[in-house]
Amino acid sequence: MKKTLQYVVLAAVLVLVAFKSVYFEKLSTHKAATGPDAAGKFDAASYAQRFWTEKLLPATAQAPDLSALLTELKANPQAAFAQSHALGIGNIRYFLVRGAGTVAKVDKNDVTVRLADGNDVQLATEYVFGNAARDASGLIRNQDFDNTADLNALAEQLNGLIRARVVPGLRADARPGSAVQFAGALELNQAHLHLDKLEVMPLAVTFSPTVKP
């Protein structure tokens, strides 16, 4: 009798837990409420489009000149990193930069630009990944997003815009010896600073017959 009572109580608890654990609804109704087109859902693609046009590209006008930044990074890294941004904690920091130079080499993965001061920098054309485009301007704030998935989606959408809007023109027009002006996002590790091979995610690139100083 005692054993039976134990089983009855156990079964009741299990039923209660199961009842409170799951809920059922029509899959079509659920998809309409939570799918990518649902009202109130974060639309990374639209957000990225607006951010790109209204904030990121205008911000490049005020970005530090890459040659000057490199000089400062060598002389006083701490002061130079004050101009960097990042959403996460850690040593990885991002700079919004602009620069001008001459195309030195065109490779499958990047275009090498020789700056006026002789430094080489690579504009990425193949591996456009990471958070540089999202974080470099410092205009995106963690608190404006509900979760990190939305932030990640935004970074991916911005990288997609680079691949769609910047890379094709860069690949088509880059010829060794041609003059180029660019704006982009640069990733550097604060603790392990290496300035010998710099890769910039290109945000805007224009070619002109002569190099502007």
Binding site: V17, K20, S21, V22, Y23, F24, E25, K26, L27, S28, T29, H30, K31, D146, N147, T148, A149, D150, N152
Partner: protein, 327 residues
């Protein structure tokens, strides 16, 4: 000059060796870093330790039976991922046009069930096929990690909601929720090991399995129960980690098995089984946690941190061996 200790001081020193080590560690770090003895850091350390305390409690039960469980880190990851995946995505059945959604309770139950099932499987394999626990749980380490990768597709599952995240980030009566959870688990484990038949059987099996068998102890059932408990407690750790990060990471829990074994050994539990305690393991987990925290505060390179931790474990095992010989 030779230091002469009173004859009766040695047992006392041995009894409190973990606490003495912890005190010396805290004193040393507080002298070197002014950030160590602060309220914020105190709660931070306790919150970090909570996960290891949960896992190490299960590991202690296993080690007391002269076993080992190398799969706890992977089980932690899978349990956290299952809970996060079900909570975030539910189960969609396109055929009957049915969506099964999971509440926070449902996700927690699913995570705990996953851990318990994997732990039970470990115990079943070890007892049914007489496999060395080292080998069986090493296999489970790989199996569970692979299943985690399959379930998550190699990507983190994020955006789990405030109610779930409360488990890892919330406060209750001025104390972080993970500390409450780990405290409750420790209290139950102390009760089980000291006051129940299962506890006595665990020590008996670790002391001498053949003697326990001759005394009528159902060795297989006790061992399977112990491994299932270890899996369940690893799952608790997985839920806490996932809730704290608001994200189930596919590579979560890597090397956690080593931290938990370290806590068990430093806490004085013999790897040969039959000797040790849950409270000793808690001390071991605190020492590991404080050591981790101190090395970070002192800006020691992560590579050196691993070296230091390795030597601490080595030292603990040597001391344990020496004590066992003297006993």
């Amino acid at each position: 000059m030779q230091l002469a200790l009173p004859a009766n001081s040695r047992p006392l020193l041995l009894k409190f060796q973990s606490l003495i080590a912890l005190f010396v560690l805290c004193l040393g770090i507080s002298l070197l870093s002014d950030k160590f003895l602060t309220g914020a850091n105190f709660w931070n350390v306790l919150r970090q330790i909570s996960v290891n305390v949960c896992i190490s409690t299960g590991m202690t039960l296993v080690v007391l039976t002269a076993g080992i469980d190398l799969s706890v880190g992977s089980v932690l990851a899978l349990a956290g991922a299952i809970a996060a995946g079900l909570l975030r995505n539910g189960i969609a059945l396109t055929g009957p046009d049915l969506f099964i959604g999971f509440t926070v309770l449902g996700a927690v139950v699913a995570g705990l069930g996953t851990g318990t099932a994997l732990g039970w499987f470990n115990g079943w394999v070890i007892t049914r096929f007489r496999l060395p626990p080292f080998v069986a749980t090493l296999a489970m380490l790989t199996i569970a990690r692979g299943l985690t990768m399959l379930w998550t597709g190699g990507f983190p599952i994020t955006g789990l909601g405030d109610s779930f995240d409360y488990l890892g980030t919330g406060w209750l009566l001025g104390i972080p929720v993970p500390v409450w959870v780990s405290g409750l688990i420790v209290a139950l484990a102390v009760l089980v090991t000291n006051k129940t038949r299962l506890g006595r059987y665990i020590y008996a099996i670790g002391g001498s399995e053949s003697a326990a068998r001759l005394s009528g102890v159902n060795i297989n059932r006790v061992k399977t129960t112990v491994y299932a408990l270890a899996g369940a407690l690893a799952a608790v750790g997985g839920l806490l980690v996932t809730a704290r990060l608001d994200s189930a990471q596919p590579n979560a829990g890597s090397s956690y098995e080593l931290d938990s074994i370290a806590a068990v050994v430093i806490g004085g539990t013999s790897l040969a089984g039959g000797r040790g305690s849950i409270l000793g393991t808690v001390q071991g987990a605190v020492i590991i946690g404080v050591l981790n925290n101190g090395l970070v505060l002192l800006n020691v390179s992560p590579f050196w941190q691993q070296v230091v931790k390795g030597f601490v474990i080595l030292l603990a095992v040597i001391i344990d061996k020496s004590n066992a010989k003297n006993d």
